[in-house]
Symmetry: C2
Subunit: 361 residues, 2 copies
């Protein structure tokens, strides 16, 4: 049998992987990974180091791929002799063994049990360091050296346009691709927030996309690009999800939306309003009261007044842009039929908010 | 402190999660998840069940979201009292706590340490059951009920077009979305291979997309759509990656490519060839000898002759389609300058193969 054991680090090993490791009498591993796992390896197990040739340049993808092929061939031949083999690789290795072992095993008529041990993914691991950046996302490997750059660029382009979060493995392994990624991201998602996690020392840098330059990206970097709702708070990168707050509708709000529903509320910028100046950057007063209040979502500038259970919108000027208001007016038409719908149809309203966020941000 | 512990099942818990669980004196959990982890929970810990109201319909996303909010509020208030809290959720829960806990914690001025324990992802877990289907992929959650269907449909559409692998969480939770997904996939990637893993009993069904109907999809299903290179072998779903085989160039191949490079080899279908009929479905004989041989990649019909180290292309008719040959001729121009390049520039040639696969399959 062959166990394919991918891992991040010792603490993030699974019980199933440890059990498989302990039972193995043959261990095939890069030397660095072996050191991390030596506590779980039977002292009588025979060890084969994939990188036993010290001159091998593991940053050369072609050399790395060849070494991986040899490691798989060795694992298969040992398993045919009846041995219990663990083939170890690190999730941050530029490409792992899972796919390859099946491709190579199919050369032989003799069958061997292949046991892929699922692992904590690099995406989940780096996310937990960054904060909680994930929602629908794509994972793209820049070290995927048999995929033409044109295909990867197309993947980057379409996932940026579709508001995916992007998780990029090995951003440093293809400079041309990295520069193209940067250009596309600046063009399509210029306000994006990104995190670069150094997987060697678990440090992170959360920056806006336009601050990104080559100096941030090292051999051990992992990069995540947020979506249009991602925000930074307390040096954490957070993508809001699934949070619905239903509030008592106060009398001012009620009055405003009764007027709104009767087409009596202001449109565009209301020069005569007695409360001016209210926010800076005002373009439109259509939603002097916000139909999504409280959204509990900081990406447009709102925030909690601490300990008061009050959502403060003063920092949110998004709702006062003309194109935003037009989008919202159109979106809530047919949903908001009476004032109570502000609560009763909150989910539908928040979907309209999201739709307009995508169109206008 | 609050530990956010997501998990798949007991065997796939990480050491870090177990350590955090054992130290917690407050456990907040859905009852089902608690049962799986009870062995790792201190007997003196105080337990709060999120679904203590037995009538709560957890398949109702709105009810589930509200329960999650309450669970986060409870975790935060207990942590403010100095307790060590673990908030447990299952990776297959329709949406987890990581993002929410940060959103809710920001209501308070008091700080609490939030410790997100990374977990084996549902994508990695179901992949290990399916075989080795992953390469660049997208993860999309059909239970993401605050995201408008239009956004999710756009994500599906663009990721199918860009040759991503698609991993779909909770395909059963939005029927309309599921039907739209099916239509789009049949239109854009009609030959796609998909796997449906039942995460309750770890069973899998690997089928082609046109076999997919509602009967395959249950509450506990997880779905993965392969890319254009994905193939099935021995009831496993495999996406080939990073495999480069360099072979001795035999005399027939050498002769053929010498002619090819001198523009003396056949173009289109060669009616007069003495070896006809060779394959079925022949359209073009331009690559009577394949410039990618051996590709070691079964998605176009090739396979290993077992135990002979010989790659058998009889089943691959892809290379004999007219549009394919035109694509390859164009692609290898400038790369294949002399016969030795078949080996020396194998990686570049395989990228051309991939490019043409995307354009023509």
């Amino acid at each position: 049998m062959i166990n394919i054991i991918e891992f991040i680090n010792k603490e993030n090993l699974t019980l199933a992987s440890i059990k498989a490791l302990k039972k193995s009498n043959i261990i095939i591993s890069y030397s660095k990974d072996f050191e991390s796992l030596v506590d779980f390896i039977d002292s009588s197990a025979e060890i084969f180091f994939i990188d036993s040739n010290e001159d091998a340049d593991l940053s050369d993808l072609s050399i790395l791929a060849d070494l991986n092929v040899k490691a798989c061939e060795l694992a298969i031949s040992k398993s045919f002799e009846g041995e219990n083999v663990s083939l170890i690789s690190n999730e941050f290795l530029k490409f792992g063994f899972s796919n390859l072992i099946y491709q190579i095993a199919s050369k032989y008529s003799q069958k061997t049990e292949i046991n892929i041990l699922p692992t904590v993914s690099a995406v989940d691991y780096t996310s937990s360091i960054a904060g909680a950046p994930l929602d629908d996302f794509v994972a793209i490997n820049f070290a995927n050296y048999l995929i033409p750059d044109s295909e990867i660029i197309n993947k980057i382009d379409s996932s940026l346009k579709a508001n995916f979060i992007l998780a990029i493995y090995n951003p440093n392994s293809n400079k041309e691709l990295f520069n193209k990624f940067k250009d596309l991201a600046l063009e399509i998602r210029k306000d994006a927030i990104i995190v670069i996690v150094d997987v060697e020392d678990n440090s992170k840098e959360i920056i806006s996309l336009n601050q990104l330059d080559d100096s941030y990206i090292k051999e051990s970097s992992f990069l995540i690009v947020g979506n249009k709702a991602t925000y930074i708070e307390d040096n954490l990168m957070i993508t809001p999800r699934s949070y619905v707050i239903r509030n008592e509708i106060i009398s001012y709000t009620r009055e405003f939306f009764e007027k709104y529903l009767n087409n009596e509320s202001p449109r565009g910028f209301d020069h005569d309003c007695e409360y001016l100046p209210c926010h800076s950057d005002m373009e439109a007063c259509d939603f002097c009261y916000c139909p999504f209040y409280p959204c509990g979502e900081s990406s447009t500038g709102g925030k909690w007044i601490k300990d008061k259970n009050v959502w403060d919108c003063v920092g949110c000027t998004w709702i006062h842009k003309e194109n935003v208001d037009n989008c919202i007016r159109e979106g809530i038409d047919g949903i908001l039929n009476e004032v109570e719908d502000l609560n009763l149809k909150k989910e539908e309203l928040l979907r309209v908010r999201r739709e307009c966020l995508l169109k206008t941000k």
